[in-house]
Symmetry: C2
Subunit: 357 residues, 2 copies
């Protein structure tokens, strides 16, 4: 099989078919597919169709449960603690962010901590829900252990991404980043392509720089020593301790605050039984929302129009490339890699449903 | 003059004397000095006595104003918008975080956006105020332009630090980091010592790596092209776009949200007319606070006790070294560099008050 361009509606329909066949009702299947499609439309292939096989395994093993429903355990006008009961992370996360949004609309701010969830896709998906209603928001999750602490060699922290979004024109300021140098998804993509990684992304069990993506991916998935470095790299010279600190912050706001599992207690690098944190607030508490919106847009424009480094065609602001990619992929389709296509066909056969083609 | 060890009470008394002579009342002078002393006690020399001359100049030039009082412009039970009226940043920030704490105690959460402030010292000082009352909190500020965007060469963002603190034993999880690879303070310290910087911290006006701290410091202070790189370094290969994104996030939550100045409109690299953001919340909204506290402490301990990389004596957690340094410096005194000592003596002469000695 070779790489192929698949139209967005066709890929979406396939994903919905898969999740319906897994046992989800139509609304749930559409919701899960929408999160994955957003990743593929934004060009974040590591979190789109590429993850279908992972979810398929999760559902088979029972680490994500069809029919489970998130439950609110504690609630105040500004907060909720939610137990996901191991429902698909996308469903629980939508439920939790919806609640944070509703609270923000009533009181100005809503904070939701979630435990016993599962892999929820791209953190930033949920911040778009808030942005569509004029709210600023955070979304964070812990994940299975994958990051080594500064000066350590044991995977003790997840990729632990943090997303933040604030409405702006022509596209929102949409920031979504792991607190590692790179995500496991990137390592997987290099491994699938058989390409060496740049130095400074991972260290092996002996604490040496490792560029072998296949070996590193296998080691991470088997829970060996070594792992991905924090944003800022090895040691403290280039701020690796800052990435490490940000990752602990995400852990504090997710696994600790929600009284769920922390990364090292999760099974598998992607992490079952993840915890999430959502915070939405209304900028209108602080002033005329149109004025704040215009200021955000103007500042982002100034960044894009500032002096470029020699040889650089363009200065981007976070989210810009994602929305451009979405516009293009909605017109032209989504490139899907051969390896991923093969996995999708395998899933279709296992579920006895029509494949992509 | 050579480097010298100064006892903490003596240094504190000197700072209070200076700010009293500048025109602040005793309570204000003690408050400002406490923020600077916390930096020196924690071993963050760049933000302690070393900054006295900067504040002295700010007060002389009127970019920080003696006698100014912060004013609440808008308020809800969970939020406040505050105008600092160019009071010393430490005073305005204490006022704002106090308000966020009070709101968090009544409603569960408090968000305060502040504009027209001035340099407020270490971001993390204010999160300690919340931690002492059992609350988790964020503190952020924008600063004068110093960071170049990913693929850019014009300073369009500040050091834009973010601090987060969550109570724990034996010391809180205390994270306080600029979103640049390094702070201007670090560059200044290298410049004062005449030492070259590591590669990957800054780029010059032609977009080339620059290790000359003196030249870079002068260029930054004069507003030339080039500047400090975002956390993650140059380009996107090692996540420089993440540090850049985090810096914009801080800008969005400070200058934009508070409708103050954004970094490129500030004069001077440290930044007058800064904006801040504070968020405090009560973990008790989400569960038994003693349980959450115990979970945080246990997770931090696990990190410290995890497998070390070869040749490393120790794995730290954020805040640990700072609190240890404080304990030592309270016993043994604070090392003050010769250059800084000379500046302190100069300030004492200018204000006609007794010097340190």
């Amino acid at each position: 099989m070779t790489d192929r361009i698949v139209s967005a509606p066709r890929l979406r329909a396939f994903m919905e078919r898969v999740f319906a066949a897994e046992g989800f009702d139509a609304g749930e299947a559409a919701q899960i597919a929408d999160v994955l499609m957003q990743a593929d439309l934004f060009g974040i292939e590591s979190h789109g169709a590429q993850r279908m096989m992972y979810y398929h395994h999760n559902l088979a093993s029972g680490s994500a449960v069809v029919g489970a429903r998130p439950e609110v355990l504690r609630e105040t006008p500004v907060s909720a603690l939610i137990d996901g009961h191991f429902a698909m992370g996308q469903l629980t996360a939508c439920f939790a962010m919806r609640r944070a949004i509703d609270k923000a609309k009533r009181t100005g701010v809503g904070l939701c901590a979630v435990r016993n969830s599962s892999h929820y896709g791209i953190a930033g998906y949920y911040t778009l829900m808030a942005a569509r209603e004029g709210l600023a928001s955070f979304s964070m999750t812990n994940t299975g252990p994958i990051m080594v602490p500064t000066f350590g060699r044991e995977m003790m922290l997840g990729t632990n991404p943090m997303a933040f979004c604030m409405p702006a024109e022509p596209v929102p300021f949409w920031f979504d980043a792991s607190t590692t140098v790179v995500t496991l998804g990137r390592v997987e993509v290099y491994a699938k392509r058989g390409k060496p990684m740049p130095e400074g992304w991972t260290i092996d069990g002996e604490g040496r720089a490792c560029t072998d993506a296949g070996r590193m991916n296998a080691s991470i998935l088997s829970g060996g020593m070594g792992g991905i470095l924090p944003l800022g790299g090895e040691g403290e010279m280039h701020g690796g301790h800052k990435g490490y600190g940000l990752a602990i912050m995400v852990e504090a706001l997710t696994g600790v605050l929600a009284q769920g599992l922390t990364s090292p207690d999760m099974s598998g690098a992607h992490g079952d039984h993840t915890s999430h944190f959502f915070l939405a607030f209304d900028p209108a508490m602080f002033g005329d929302p149109a004025d704040i919106h215009a200021r955000m847009s103007a500042y982002l424009r100034r960044l894009r129009e500032s002096e470029r480094a020699p040889g650089q065609a363009r200065i981007l602001t976070p989210g810009e490339r994602a929305f451009e990619t979405q516009a293009r992929r909605e017109r032209e389709g989504i490139p899907v890699e051969a390896n991923t296509l093969a996995e999708l066909e395998q899933i279709a056969r296992a579920l006895n449903i029509p494949g992509l083609s």
